[in-house]
């Protein structure tokens, strides 16, 4: 059985114009490569840590979601054996943390109520 790892996390939000959210493992590995893990689109990237020879390792450095305010393809998220912990919050699985961040950011950015209703 795969062991669940708990990681400290930070969030970068580029604002509604860029609409890109990135979760970073903290401290973030110095070198990583973005892996497009989206099965159908180019919306979900996993940052995979690299070793000193720039070869990919098993370590995860982050996750990037393009079009985050509208994102609703939760089933397409990678199944990472990790719990992500933001400072002051309980550790959460990736999907739960992203849903919480999306709710907060939709409120902050005044995401249209009509679209929020249809996304529920």
């Amino acid at each position: 059985m795969e062991q669940i790892k708990m990681v400290q996390t930070s969030v970068t939000w580029g604002g509604p114009e860029s609409n890109v959210l990135t979760l970073y493992v903290e401290p973030t590995p110095d070198m990583w490569e973005a892996d497009d893990v989206d099965p159908v689109d180019f919306q979900i990237f996993v940052y995979r840590a690299l070793d000193e020879n720039e070869q990919e390792t098993e370590e995860i450095a982050g996750v990037e979601i393009i079009g985050f305010l509208e994102f609703d393809r939760w089933d397409d998220l990678p199944k990472l054996p990790m719990l992500w912990q933001l400072p002051g919050w309980e550790p959460l699985p990736l999907e739960d943390l992203l849903k919480r961040e999306q709710k907060l950011l939709r409120e902050k950015e005044g995401y249209p109520a009509r679209e929020q209703a249809s996304a529920r």
């Binding site: 970068t12 890109v20 970073y24 110095d30 919306q43 393009i66 079009g67 400072p87």
Partner: protein, 142 residues
């Protein structure tokens, strides 16, 4: 809790990484200079489209060590686009190849918005590029 208090902007992240000694200010300076001198006016990619790069986009893409160490790769990557494919909601993926040494190609993928802005830009390996070439519908190639 206010989301704005826990989410950093890309610029705030860069500033924190500088404070923590992960990136030097000297490394970020050339990227900002490149943006001021050229990137802010847009880059015309091989299909003739002018791609716009906001300052916030710059801070987002230079968190990748392969970009902040060589920010000129942003422009090289855009000029090296050889294929553009469809994504959802008007987004497109541009695949790029360029060289910095004889006989060595580097590859990149760029997520473009319908308004010609960039959303993401990464240096990737050739295996990933081949995988991207199977997604979406081909819009343009050279």
């Amino acid at each position: 809790m206010d989301a704005s208090k826990e989410a950093e902007s890309p610029k705030e992240r860069i500033e924190r990484l500088i404070r923590e000694g992960k990136i030097t200010r000297e490394a970020v300076g050339p990227a900002e200079k490149l943006w001021e001198e050229r990137l802010q006016y847009g880059v015309i990619i091989p299909n003739g489209e002018r791609i716009t790069i906001r300052l916030d986009d710059l801070y987002h893409v230079i968190v990748d060590h392969r970009i902040w160490r060589k920010p000129q790769r942003i422009e090289q990557m855009l000029l090296g686009i050889f294929e553009i494919r469809t994504g959802r909601e008007g987004r497109r993926i541009a695949l790029s190849r360029w060289g910095e040494q004889v006989d060595v190609s580097l590859y990149g993928s760029i997520v473009l918005e319908s308004d010609s802005g960039i959303r993401s830009l990464h240096v990737v390996d050739d295996k990933r590029i081949r995988r991207e070439m199977k997604k979406g519908v081909l819009l343009w190639n050279r």
